[in-house]
Structures are given as structure tokens and as C-alpha cells.
């Protein structure tokens, strides 16, 4: 009998996994992708929306059309997964049995978990740019903002694309300079971390960039409450930061269908998996890709892309009864937009933190340093996303394993 692979989620991870698995197993397996809507959002583009540099119509395409035409697409939400019976119960009442399940349900924004955040001022004075609605509303608010204190706040980790809030600060600095009112705007970055970023060398560089651009940094601030009416963030240890406009990255959790599925998710709704094979901890025939996974990587599209190759190989090996390949190294690669047509590139994995040098080898894009070339790289990536990454092709010159050539290892 033909085996069936069910993939939950038609975002970055689900789409590239489906297309790669289709190529690896053409004709041998039935592949079904399930998602509740047909709107695939290019999430890296959300950062540009508040500054009028991208618009909704540039960022959304059909989920179904990103899949090879032999891949089945089921337009339904998921109620829960029954891991004992190998069945997915759909929101429309349907049931899908599976031989292998790939979970690609991503991360969900949970602003209501923070006291006051969705109360008075939400979407008028406090915004998130992590979804289209918020990013679009924030674009209007930024256009009308003519001075005062703009606070960018990360409530708690983990979040998608941990560099995005920093990029927002850099772009805000550029945006208000362009408008000629930078001297009337106080920019403040408020983070629960003890520095600008999680990794020491990059944290120093990025912290220095905040300082150079006159952006105040408030660290170890664990937001307990957002008072939109009074315009203040209040931490659990009762410190306060006042604002005229707040851009808040809400806490993230896993998909609700994971929380409804016995045994599948952790306390936050993410799915524990082996960090090298991507096989779930709950059942051998369940694999996880992208933001849905509880593994120690950043929640970022580049990680998902690099996971794609190992995940595909392991699903194929699992079906053949072979030993899994434990080679995923946590490779992450991020362009950090820094304003004025420049960007910084960082490249790292589980063992090597972001370091200066060049990518992918001694001749290449400068690492941990502002450059115009990196900004062009970031822009080009939008095209590559739809035309190479989602179809599941390897990107030219970009290997799954993190390259060490070109990195300056002696900096610490």
C-alpha cells in the first residue's frame, strides 16, 4: 500500500519539506499538506511594512501554489493529533491517517498572555509588527508620529527572528532621519536579555551599533504589564519604562492544535525533538521542522531551510527502516538590516557563535559588519525565497552545514 506523509502547516517549513519529500519519494508516497488558509506570508518582509518599504500585496501568495501539483493540499484547520493511533483529526471533521507526520505549524503570537498588552492602546499606541495587521497599522501610526519616545520591547524569548526587533530600531533611526525629525524622537530598545543579542561577540557589535545610532538600551527587563493608557511598560521586578509609542514583540507559543494534542508539545506548545535528527521525542514517526520545534536554534527561516535537507533524508531513511542522519548542526544565517541601504550578516550554529570574517569563504559577504553588499543580499533573498527555498532547491553557494572557512575564530 502507498504510504502517506501528512505535513501540518503550509508555511516555510511545511512547503519546502513537502517539495523536497516529493522529489525524494516521487510516486512512492502520498504527501498531504494541511493548512487552515491559503495565505503564505513572506515573514521577513513584515519588518519593512511599518516604514512603507513593503506592502501587503508584495508579501502574500497562495500556499497551495508553492507546492508541486502532485502534492495534495487540505484546506482545513487541525483539531488535534492522536499520536497513539497515527491520525490527525481535522477541524472540518475529517480524519487523516499517516505513516509519517511532519509538524511545521510554526510559532503563534500570544499578546494576550501579557497583562494589559491587548487592552487600552492596543493597535493605537502599542503595536506588534510580527503580523500583517499589526505591521500595516503601525505604518499608519509611524507616518503620524511627530516626536516623543518610541520604545521597542521584546517581552520574552523565544521569538521568531530574534534580530528583527534590532533591525526595527536601526530602520526607525534611518526613517526619522529621512523625515528630518530624528532629534525629536527618543528611541529605546528594551530586552529581557543581558545585552543586545544572545551571543557575546555579536552582542558587542550590535550593542555598539545601537550606541552609535543613539538608541538607548535597557536590559534584563522582563515585561509583566503594558499600560497603553498611561504609556508605560512595567517589569515583573517593578521597573517602569514610559513611551509615547510602543512596538512590542509579544510572547510566542506553539500552535493551538499542538497544545490540544496529548503528549506532543512542551509547556509552551513547541514540539521537543532531537536537535540533530529532527525526530520528535514523542514518537519515532513524527518529525519537526522550523519554528514549531523545541530545539536550541533561533526561530528563523534560514534555520528551517537548512533543516530541510536533513529532515527529508531522515523521513526517507525512517520509511526504509534505516538509521537516521544526525547531521543538523543548528546552522543559522541572518541578514540584519541596519538602515541607510546597509546590512550586517551573521552566520552561526550550535557550536560556533556569530563571528567576523566573510561568508561563505574568505572571499564573500562580510560578516558582523555593515555593508551595502549585505543589504543587496537581503533584497535578493526575497526572490530566492519564492523561487529556490520553497521549491526545496539548494541555494547556490549556501551549504546546509555552517562553513568555518572565512570566519575569524580568534576574536574572543
Amino acid at each position: 500500500m502507498t504510504k502517506r506523509i501528512v505535513i501540518l502547516g503550509g508555511g516555510t517549513g511545511g512547503t519546502l519539506a513537502a517539495n523536497r519529500l516529493h522529489r525524494a519519494l516521487a510516486g512512492e508516497c502520498e504527501i498531504v499538506v494541511v493548512d487552515r488558509d491559503d495565505d503564505h506570508v513572506y515573514q521577513p518582509g513584515l519588518l519593512f511594512v511599518p516604514f512603507g518599504l513593503a506592502h501587503e500585496e508584495d508579501l502574500v501568495r497562495s500556499r497551495r501554489r508553492q507546492l508541486h501539483h502532485d502534492i495534495a493540499y487540505r484546506d482545513s484547520g487541525v483539531d488535534h493529533v492522536d499520536v497513539e493511533a497515527n491520525r490527525v483529526h481535522l477541524a472540518d471533521g475529517g480524519v487523516l491517517g499517516y505513516d509519517v507526520l511532519v509538524i511545521a505549524t510554526g510559532a503563534r503570537l500570544v499578546p494576550e498572555e501579557t497583562d494589559g498588552l491587548t487592552g487600552p492602546g492596543w493597535m493605537t499606541r502599542t503595536f506588534s509588527f510580527y503580523d500583517l495587521e499589526g505591521a500595516t497599522a503601525l505604518a499608519r501610526a509611524l507616518r503620524e508620529f511627530d516626536g516623543g519616545r518610541l520604545v521597542v520591547n521584546v517581552v520574552d524569548m523565544p521569538i521568531k527572528c530574534p534580530v528583527a526587533p534590532l533591525e526595527f530600531c536601526f530602520l526607525a533611526d534611518w526613517y526619522f532621519q529621512e523625515r528630518g525629525i530624528r532629534d525629536q524622537v527618543q528611541l529605546t530598545y528594551v530586552t529581557p536579555l543581558d545585552g543586545a543579542f544572545t551571543k557575546p561577540v555579536a552582542s558587542r557589535t550590535l550593542g555598539g551599533m545601537l550606541q552609535d545610532k543613539g538608541i538607548e538600551l535597557v536590559t534584563e527587563f522582563n515585561t509583566g504589564e503594558v499600560d497603553g493608557a498611561a504609556g508605560k511598560l512595567i517589569s515583573f521586578d517593578e521597573r517602569e519604562v514610559t513611551f509615547d509609542l510602543a512596538v512590542v514583540v509579544p510572547v510566542h507559543g506553539g500552535a493551538e492544535c499542538i497544545e490540544r494534542s496529548w503528549g506532543l508539545g512542551d509547556a509552551l506548545g513547541f514540539v521537543p525533538a532531537d536537535e540533530h535528527t529532527l525526530q520528535s521525542k514523542v514518537r519515532d514517526n513524527i518529525f519537526v521542522i522550523g519554528d514549531a520545534a523545541a530545539i536550541p536554534t533561533s526561530k528563523a527561516g534560514s534555520v528551517t531551510h537548512f533543516e530541510g535537507e536533513v529532515l527529508t533524508r531522515n523521513v526517507v531513511r525512517f520509511l526504509a527502516g534505516e538509521q537516521l542522519d544526525a547531521s543538523f548542526d543548528g546552522h543559522t544565517n541572518c541578514f540584519i538590516e541596519s538602515g541607510f541601504g546597509k546590512a550586517v550578516l551573521i552566520d552561526f550554529n550550535y557550536d560556533t557563535e556569530p563571528l567576523p570574517g566573510h561568508y561563505p569563504a574568505a572571499v564573500g559577504l562580510p560578516l558582523l559588519k555593515e555593508s551595502r553588499l549585505n543589504h543587496l543580499g537581503k533584497l535578493m533573498f526575497g526572490w530566492l525565497y519564492w523561487h529556490s527555498l520553497l521549491p526545496g532547491r539548494d541555494l547556490p553557494g549556501v551549504a546546509t552545514e555552517m562553513p568555518l572557512a572565512g570566519k575569524h575564530l580568534e576574536v574572543r
Binding site: P158, L193, G224
Partner: protein, 105 residues
């Protein structure tokens, strides 16, 4: 890496004071670690969190984050900050003799 003496027994700790070998921890050491960490006298609520941290570590190999602790320990995040001011996950882990919770990236 260095050593400390709690409840009359020498144990190994790292630069930040976290136990490097959770097996060396005993309940009667907790009060001294708590004093040293500025947490003060331990109440029943503190102990609920400390026991929870030990169990989580035994099962998962890492201590929970504050948010996960708030969802699963039966003590809210607000109360956790009252019990262990500044950093509940870090302080509770240190008093419970387990390594610093692996931060998120």
C-alpha cells in the same frame, strides 16, 4: 570552576555559583545558598518551586524558563518574582543545585 561549602559539605560550582554536579546537592544546603543569593528565608512556596526544578531537571536535563515555570509549577510568574526577585529561573535553579537553565536564542 571552584568549590563552596554548604551544610558542611564541599561541592563544585561554576563562576556564577551554579552546581556543576547536581548529584552533590542536598536539601539541607538550600537555605545557605538562598541566603547567599539574597533570597532570604525559604517558605513552603519557595520549596514548591525548588522541588519542581529538581523534578524537571531529572526528567528533561535542563531547568525550565520563567514562563514555563509560571505555566507548570503552580506558582504564577508574578509570585515567582516575589519569591525569587530579579531572576526566578536562575535563582531557583541555583538554590535547587541544578545548572543554569539553557537560555533561548
Amino acid at each position: 570552576m571552584s568549590t563552596k561549602v554548604y551544610a558542611g559539605t564541599e561541592v563544585s560550582v561554576n563562576d556564577e555559583g551554579f552546581f556543576t554536579d547536581p548529584g552533590q546537592w542536598r536539601e539541607d544546603m538550600a537555605a545557605e545558598i538562598a541566603q547567599e543569593a539574597g533570597v532570604g528565608d525559604l517558605t513552603g512556596r519557595h520549596w514548591q518551586v525548588i522541588h519542581f526544578m529538581r523534578t524537571e531537571f531529572a526528567q528533561k536535563g535542563t531547568g525550565p524558563t520563567v514562563r514555563a515555570l509560571g505555566k507548570t509549577s503552580g506558582v504564577s510568574v508574578k509570585e515567582l518574582y516575589r519569591l525569587f526577585p530579579k531572576g526566578p529561573a536562575k535563582l531557583a535553579a541555583r538554590i535547587a543545585g541544578i545548572p543554569k537553565p539553557r537560555g533561548c536564542i
